[in-house]
Symmetry: C2
Subunit: 191 residues, 2 copies
DNA sequence: CAGCAAAGTTAGTAAACACTAACAATTTTC
DNA sequence: GAAAATTGTTAGTGTTTACTAACTTTGCTG
């Protein structure tokens, strides 16, 4: 789908956003980071909007990949483990990705960015909610609380947790602490 | 502390960020919104950075005010109610505030912004964690889960919930649905 | 190895950006 | 009600922004 250079540009763009926010993503910074001239960027992407949309598409694809892995597991308990584990590994391997899970805040300009962003989040919430509902049906998840609320807690705490990891300057072991967090969540909602 | 015009500028700046992200906050937009010329802005704030810092200070003060209200309640259960209730009312009255609770994503430029932002979030987490720990000591909060994890769930779900409200275009009744969410959380962690 | 497409360059554009200088109106103060 | 401070204006600064035109280098292909 993308050439090597295009992937390089997407990755560097992500890192620029990660370290300086959306305002850090300029064509100048990007070309400097990669080591080519500004106009060379336009040999690979039509415009800046195109780069941002590619970042969002990449993240969506990434999320979908995780959900595929999740759906391979049979019990909801295992699915929750895989969901967390996969996300934690993604962030560990590519810390710049943390910037994108909060993309709602970043990409509020263009209509297209906005819509894609909303869609990704909504899909995430829906999928997790459905996963939990299946658990309720199977009798493995407690049934006295709306699954939407459980999904808020799962995804909300995951997001805040990862954000704190970033704000701390990646000071604590993400995967290890992440396992402890999901374990706590499971204690609360698995029966 | 601030003059009427300064407060007006802060509020409009907040609204600009809310509707178009941090990139929507320009002196031109701001002056247009208020109905004065660009240089007139500089009669009230030294520079743009100054405006942004004032937004953050306002939000910090706002949060502190809420925590004061919270600390007036005796039981942790009541404190949780007040915490949620106060935040929900704040967002209901001033939806633009939603943009600021995710300020970590917005203000990643300057060192000063970054630090203040991190400090606000860290303080929030610490205060809620301590509140829950007191509950554990009093025997009202379950003691089989680290309070830090409970704080992640409380604040994380609150954030994601409010964000969804914003993304939905304020379609659902925030306060009502918020009460349901905190009720669910309490079912899980109050014993 | 000629031909050609892909990927790079330098030099430039217009628009937007934060901000300033100089002056004018308005309001406050004594 | 004059002096002074405050708050506004118009016109401009230099810098940064995304992006383009025109030309050159690189690397692959028949």
């Amino acid at each position: 789908m993308h050439t090597a250079r295009q992937n390089e540009i997407i990755q560097k763009a992500l890192q620029l956003i990660d370290s300086n926010g959306i305002q850090g993503l300029t064509i100048k910074n990007l070309s400097k980071e990669i080591g080519i001239s500004e106009p060379a960027i336009y040999r690979h992407f039509e415009n800046k909007e195109d780069i941002i949309m590619s970042i969002l598409h990449m993240f969506r694809q990434h999320s979908e990949q995780i959900m595929i892995q999740v759906s391979k597991k049979e019990t909801v308990s295992e699915q929750m483990d895989v969901l967390f584990e996969q996300y934690m590994h993604s962030f560990q391997n590519n810390p710049a990705l943390v910037a994108v899970i909060f993309s709602e805040e970043l990409f509020r300009n263009e209509g297209a960015q906005r819509e894609l962003t909303s869609a990704i989040i909504a899909k995430n919430m829906t999928q997790v909610t459905k996963m939990l509902e299946k658990g309720v049906q199977q009798g493995t998840i407690r049934n006295d609380i709306p699954c939407e609320h459980l999904a808020y807690m799962m995804l909300g705490s995951l997001r805040l947790f990862v954000k704190n990891w970033q704000l701390s300057g990646f000071q604590f072991p993400l995967i290890e602490k992440g396992r402890e967090l999901i374990s706590s969540i499971k204690t609360l909602i698995v029966r």
